[in-house]
Symmetry: C2
Subunit: 355 residues, 2 copies
Amino acid sequence: MVNTEDQQLHEPDGDPASLDARKAAILTAVVTEYIGTALPIGSQHVADLPGVGVSSATVRTEMAALEGDGYLTQPHTSAGRIPTDKGYRFFVDHLGGPGPLEPVQRQQVRQFFDHAHGEIEQMLERTSGLLADLTDCTAMVVGPSHEGSTIRSIQLVGLGPRLALLVVVLSDGAVQKHAVELPEDTPEERLAEASRHLAAHADGLSLDMVGQAAPATGDQATDALVMAGLASLLAIRPEDQTEQLFVGGPSRLATAFDAVETVRSVLTILEQQLVVVSLLRDVLDRGLSVAIGAEHGFEPLVSCAIVVMPVSVEGEKAGTIGLLGPTRMNYPQALAAARVVGERLGQRLSESGTL
Amino acid sequence: MVNTEDQQLHEPDGDPASLDARKAAILTAVVTEYIGTALPIGSQHVADLPGVGVSSATVRTEMAALEGDGYLTQPHTSAGRIPTDKGYRFFVDHLGGPGPLEPVQRQQVRQFFDHAHGEIEQMLERTSGLLADLTDCTAMVVGPSHEGSTIRSIQLVGLGPRLALLVVVLSDGAVQKHAVELPEDTPEERLAEASRHLAAHADGLSLDMVGQAAPATGDQATDALVMAGLASLLAIRPEDQTEQLFVGGPSRLATAFDAVETVRSVLTILEQQLVVVSLLRDVLDRGLSVAIGAEHGFEPLVSCAIVVMPVSVEGEKAGTIGLLGPTRMNYPQALAAARVVGERLGQRLSESGTL
DNA sequence: GTCAGCACTCAGTACACTGGAGTGCTAATC
DNA sequence: GATTAGCACTCCAGTGTACTGAGTGCTGAC
């Protein structure tokens, strides 16, 4: 009876923002403790925590109310409470910012970026490893999209009598290559000649635009080469133009879940780059930085939570960072790590002018 | 090579090459059945199999003998037998060749290589996926080493006022790139000029040799650029010159093992590219095509078996294929898949002239 | 040498019992 | 009216016992 009234008062239709201070404190305590121990949390345990200041009996009534409102649940009648996805959601929404990183970790990040240099792909790959180390989650790093970038250089390099490699450098520093089989033995000079024509035609264009016919060169054999090069360019497009995904520390999944079947299914998802990339984009598009349980609408990952963080270079979106863990992942830590690494990565990318 | 013969000729104790026909048949039956069911195999079950033709009692005595010789073991007294690593070793050594592939799979391989084209890295990556599909093991594909290959093209491409990208094309079709930060704003023409000098100096050299000082150009600013380019080349060396590793289907590990801890530790190994690459090389160097349990001497993988297969292009070693699974993996199938895919991959690589 | 028969072993399952952690409820207290 | 101590209740986890059945080793007969 009392409960029903309470529900109607506090719960217009599942308003997670309105919990009185004590309920919020207890819920937060349960979430924090459960994240740490992975064991159901009992009322006594919560009452013993500093800062709660009420007896276990009071905690019990509050917990019962929280369960009624869907923030907590019990594995079985005589067990402690564990948070529901809604409980985690409240927790995350009321964190008040990502919070700071441990000094040791801060140091680790600084050191990493001080020593990072050279190739962007390699750096992204290693960044995923760093994130996995920092958070004990599986990390996903999506590289910048080549969508807006234009061709800075295009060149045919002879590798054999009938084989050449088309090497394209984009304005964002990406390099694409494609083997071109030649119909006939082609001397080096003709390749160079064709390269010049291709470059003249394609320089400054985006990969999408380049397919249009190039002007004739006057020499038939060279024209054929140019055409072959353009054809290869077209072949690149669908395959390699999507953002690259780097997954770091998949083994952490086996630490996070103790059901091998869960590990298997999540690993299977991670093997599908396209799925992962679009999942991250999807979460980001919906304005979330954390997707808990079923929130992302992707059934195979209901037992997971995802933290996303855009990486931007001078205001432009230049990639995404993602962290994948169990719903009871350490959100403050994960958010902090994602934010710090995201910022530093953005800086690093803008320093090396990759946009 | 020599090792294999040696091993088979003088065996320390208990000669694995000499088991009488019936023992061999029973051992083979146990291995085959256990590979299929993952359950301990009882004497009755073996006696029921076609081709055995003796009673369960006889099978029992033979099994007891096989256990005494270390080919079989019992999880507990009243259970059936499961093969030991020595048992698997005997099985593999007496397979009499990899055996054929299922027609469906053969078709799958053909189709794959008919549609494979373009980038070598992408092809290797997909090959690892194909192998995982075919064998239900985790597949490892090691790309060709760039060791002997020489520089075919070298070019500085301007990406921003103070940033250039050094793009190096090797004779085997590999493309390496490295960001070069420029001390001052550099016009396009000077980059081109420096590129020409770099190319003249480096063309035909291996990456190892290129570090030597290039002749002066006469222009100081250009010289500085050339030096910066050479410095970047040196920076590439240790990092990226090792063979690339592509891992396909790590989720299969979670199917193969039901202890989540095993999955975790094997996944952790797979995250260390260098370790995996050198492990595969090591097994290959010892002349083995299968390493079972502790045979590879790598403690974290004692519960695994590894199948390796060199990929060669016109007699030259051009990469390695590896399959990783539990010791009770399907050896005939794995060997068959590795052989067929290895051959086709070698053909494909030689067609596209990547050596 | 092979095999049917038999006693034996032991994992797995089912069942009952217990201890303890944790709950919900209620009545007393502030 | 909110808080809390007290209490009865629930249910998991752990333990002990009994039973089953798959599989073994051994033995004696063919």
